[in-house]
């Protein structure tokens, strides 16, 4: 593999081909915030908190560093007023969904985000996909997956697989940046407790719980 030289925040950094800007930055000790990224999982690019300014061939663009591959001569800036602003607004939007999330509250502190800026839409899940991807990629069980799309997209446990596998595992619980995952699981459990063969009772998080 050929080595690639790029600049991150004025520092010359070498990375191997195929690495992401995030990998390169972290290896050089430069911190970039992330929410949906996880070392054991394939890059996802869902939360955009890892946004950086990437300049190549005279063009500058905003890129999600966790999915942006390194290029020879790339000039990356991880902290500019514009980036801080983007991260601030992203955090504010996510907080509208999960106002209690510690991960997000920490980010709010770092980026001076106002947690009450947007009206609350407590779906609790911020669709980072960590649980879904961990279950599929690491455990290869696919007990939890996304359903629907757009504003109604949510996570859903497969009651049959969940009843068989999840009780022993629960490895996704600590990955969730909000409390939605555990809530969805507990709800699914309670819905299927008396009918273990219940087939279509797809558990949904907050919506049913608050209904």
């Amino acid at each position: 593999m050929t080595d690639i030289t790029l600049t991150i925040d004025g520092q010359t950094v070498t990375a191997s081909e195929g690495a992401t800007v995030l990998d390169a930055a972290r290896a050089a000790g430069i911190a970039i915030p992330t929410v949906c990224h996880h070392e054991k999982l394939e890059p996802f690019g869902g939360c955009r908190l890892c946004v950086v300014e990437a300049e190549a061939g005279g063009r500058t663009s905003l890129a999600a560093s966790c999915i942006f591959p390194v290029q020879q001569g790339l000039n990356v800036r991880t902290r500019t007023p514009q980036i801080e602003q983007v991260r601030k607004v992203l955090t504010e939007q996510l907080l509208a969904h999960a106002p209690e999330s510690e991960v997000l509250l920490k980010l709010a502190e770092d980026y001076h985000a106002n947690k009450d800026r947007f009206p609350r839409e407590p779906s609790f899940c911020i669709l980072c996909g960590l649980c879904v991807r961990y279950c599929a990629e690491v455990k290869q069980l696919n007990a939890v997956s996304f359903v629907d799309r757009g504003p109604t997209r949510e996570i859903s446990f497969d009651p049959e697989i969940a009843n068989r596998e999840c009780w022993e595992c629960k490895e996704c619980f600590p990955l969730c940046p909000t409390s939605a995952l555990q809530a969805a699981y507990v709800l699914m459990k309670s819905l299927t407790a008396f009918s273990p063969s219940a087939h279509c009772a797809a558990a949904t998080p907050a919506k049913q719980a608050t209904a």
């Binding site: 599929a136 696919n142 359903v147 497969d158």
Partner: protein
């Protein structure tokens, strides 16, 4: 009951390729007018695709339905052109005549009502589609008469 052989044939036609998941689901949808869960389990087994991913795909596209559809599928176009030409009133007539809200099917399985975003023949707006046949330039009165033609 699902006709398992039919589903098997559809899967065979696409060589049970994982990459043909959407095409297979579309064919099943066309055959049965919905995606019965037995059919999806079969697809999951034969394509070696987890059920979770199939459900994700099936709930992502509007072309798929996870509940049985009525004998007549009504799609009311709510695209911009139809909207400004009075699609809302046409929809109201259909709702009142059938007693259905978009997304619903009546107990006799006669009609399924849905809204769609642009059928692609805006010049004919407002347009509705009944059983894949387009009816354009609708006005509330004409709509009620049109529905009477379906049994």
């Amino acid at each position: 009951m699902t006709d398992t052989t039919k589903v098997q044939q559809i899967i065979d036609r696409h060589d049970a390729r994982e990459g043909a998941l959407i095409e297979i689901l579309l064919d099943i949808q066309h055959e049965f007018h919905w995606l019965p869960s037995e059919a999806l389990e079969l697809v999951s087994d034969r394509l070696n695709v987890p059920m979770g991913r199939i459900r994700h795909t099936a709930t992502f596209y509007k072309a798929f339905s996870l509940v049985p559809k009525g004998r007549h599928e009504i799609n009311v176009c709510m695209g911009t052109a139809c909207h400004v030409r009075g699609a809302q009133r046409v929809l109201e007539v259909i709702q009142n005549t059938t007693g259905l809200m978009p997304g619903e099917t009546d107990a006799e399985m006669k009609y399924s009502l849905d809204t769609v975003n642009c059928i692609g023949c805006c010049a004919l707006g407002p347009v509705i589609e009944i059983d894949k046949e387009q009816h354009g330039k609708l006005v509330p009165g004409k709509t009620a008469a049109l529905l009477k033609r379906y049994e």
